[in-house]
Symmetry: C2
């Protein structure tokens, strides 16, 4: 892809409201652009990363037997009255009226809509288990939107819902999802820790969060030095130095970014919204439910936070917007341009995502932008082009080599 | 994929509010489910078709040099004040306030947001042309939502915006988009006709619509019997039998479904919102813009309308939710099940999207559902399974054959 057509509006300085490194870099590297507080446009480079994260999520959820659908953002009040959440949900719920003055909200989650979608269909245990997910835009009117994509008012989420005959089956699927989540985050370049948490506005009996350890997270995690106990501080109520409730060891505190959460909803929604099945014993019982979220825009941000210096990003392989960045030092030099273009075309023909900096900019500007943008494998086509040689840099290992143009495919190792 | 996990809630009868064949079939075949008037959930089968349409759009737009991004649904009033549309747009614009009583709307189109995204970046003609698109959820509070996905209040659109130094360059890109649109719709199994139309709430100097000819369309097209003149009746003001304004021939009327539209915006938004570049002559001039929409949910509906009988759908190849449907007549019969499963696995290993009806339902129920769902290639695994034989049906040609299980790959011809 030609960089001139991609639209990457890099900035010398970060906007004044950018508080944390990831937000500063994402603004400077042309990843996102703010539209209003907590509301962003994902620019082409950022949206390529979002789509890569979505692809990983789809692969891992399809692998455990989930099926994808898409529910609406506009949700009618009557369904929220059924679940009882219309009155209980606070001012984070964005509400509006249509032209006939009927009440709607913009969905922060979709328990009501998914229950409405399945309840007429689910009549027997034979149709269970069932697990459905969507990748969709969510809305939450945060009191104080901040930290870029970390606490936004409009954001991209994957939310999944599972339906079961028994608590034991929910338990089994809860574990399946937890394992899939660990894989998903690892593929996104993130090591996560599972911590116990409150159920909050979602409800249910039990919940866990997937945390990326980070200095800029909004959540404090309390964990034990001696055993595997870990919980969100809001949930544990513990402080640094307190005794561990499991083993008596010493509790420590740490700041984390929540990228996923999983809930055992039990029958909260199926009872209030009348989603029932005939079980194996011939009795009509409410369906047992679980729900499972991943903050996709947050995952993007957490990844930048983990994989960057102040100079720029270094994307993990699987979510990188491009795999190779080809930079002709002087795009007006015909020898350089022809070689750079040939390398671009050859890599592209092999199915490799490759970006070529075709802009008529000074070399310094191009290199600075390339550092910001953060593609791991860089091919610099400069004065050695007349000998058919280029410089190849793997920014992950730091190794630089002068190689022949036709050795690039071997060098990138893709 | 196992049909039991896919979630395909087929219905014997269409909902009472379904007026047209496509809406009836889409409800009965488990393609969509209504949440509120004009607001739908895309069930897994329908969402697979949507994703296939999106893939085609991405391929054709990337091929002409467009770049994808994602803009927010929530749009702040101040940007709409800049363009002057906040006061001009009618009650179709869904408006809401956040918790601090600041005004927002839910975007029906994104001219303001895209102009805000590019205006700081576009400073010179050297950065033009530029063409950006998104696939995103749109909102329009229709007075009378009807015909299922045809006139919805929340719908999926592809909207693109192009930026140019001169009118001549816009003209060139307008034609590029028109050609890409014709290809996109053909790949979706739709023949379209380009007709002149009004610019409406979008504005600009000139617009054309892409129409699928259909009995259930909401638009009336006036066209000439003798020359290529064609226009939306709202635009032409002509009636059946009137003389053609171009050649004097006879005007005829026909009902069409609008699936796409393209607009020459000119400088309407760039002037009011101050998006200017230095041109080749060193003068600062407003950028010349075009915008280009495709109704993705409408395209899905138009395709069902064109490719169905009252018994069920017959999906065009490129957008079909699955390419092959394998149906063991009796899933409890071990011989049938083993052969059906082997065929499923073999096809899947070749990268073919294959659905297997693993449900413990009567054969009649399975066949009726299969007719509704509408996958072109069907493999029936019945009593002949013990001789390793199956029935293969190509529903497009109507040809049925008894073949050996290991000849399936040749038979499907994929």
């Amino acid at each position: 892809m030609k960089q001139s057509l991609l639209f990457v509006p890099t900035l010398r300085d970060a906007p004044q409201d950018a508080e944390v490194r990831s937000h500063k870099l994402m603004s400077r590297a042309g990843i996102v652009k703010m539209v209003a507080a907590g509301i962003y446009t994902y620019l082409p480079l950022g949206y390529r990363v979002i789509k890569n994260i979505e692809k990983i999520i789809r692969e891992e959820l399809d692998a455990i037997g989930c099926s994808e659908l898409l529910m609406p953002a506009l949700q009618p009040r009557d369904l929220w009255e059924e679940s009882g959440r219309w009155d209980k949900y606070g001012p984070e719920l964005m509400r509006l009226q249509d032209r006939k003055e009927r009440d709607f909200c913009l969905g922060p989650t979709h328990e009501e809509i998914i229950t409405q979608a399945v309840r007429d269909y689910l009549n027997s245990y034979k149709k269970l288990p069932l697990a459905l997910y969507q990748i969709q835009t969510k809305f939450r009117d945060e009191m104080r939107p901040r930290f870029g994509l970390m606490r936004g008012r409009e954001f991209i989420m994957k939310d999944a819902y599972s339906f079961h005959e028994t608590d034991a089956e929910l338990e089994e699927w809860y574990k399946k999802f937890a394992d899939a989540y660990t894989k998903i985050f690892l593929r996104c370049g993130l090591e996560t820790r599972i911590v116990a948490s409150d159920v909050g506005q979602i409800g249910g009996s039990e919940a866990d969060e997937f945390m990326v350890m980070s200095e800029v997270g909004e959540d404090t995690i309390t964990y034990c030095m001696s055993c595997s106990y870990a919980a969100n501080q809001e949930h544990s109520g513990l402080q640094e130095g307190d005794p561990c409730p499991v083993c008596g060891g010493t509790i420590r505190e740490a700041k984390g970014i929540e990228v996923g959460n999983i809930f055992k909803l039990g029958t909260k929604y199926s009872e209030s919204m009348n989603a029932k099945v005939i079980n194996k014993d011939g009795q009509q019982v409410p369906v047992v439910m679980g729900c499972y979220g991943i903050g996709i825009s947050r995952t993007l941000m957490a990844s930048v936070e983990q994989h960057a210096t102040d100079e720029g990003i270094l994307w993990p392989d699987e979510i990188a917007p491009f795999q190779v960045h080809v930079i002709p030092v002087n795009a007006k030099d015909e020898t350089q341009w022809i070689l750079a273009n040939a390398i671009h075309d050859n890599l592209k023909a092999k199915g490799i995502d490759v970006l070529i900096d075709d802009r008529e900019e000074r070399a310094g500007v191009k290199f600075k932008d390339a550092d910001l943008i953060g593609i791991r494998r860089r091919v610099i086509v400069g004065k050695l082009a007349k000998e058919n040689k280029v410089e190849y840099i793997d920014r992950q290992s730091g190794v630089k080599n002068i190689i022949m143009g036709d050795q690039i495919l071997d060098a990138v190792g893709l």
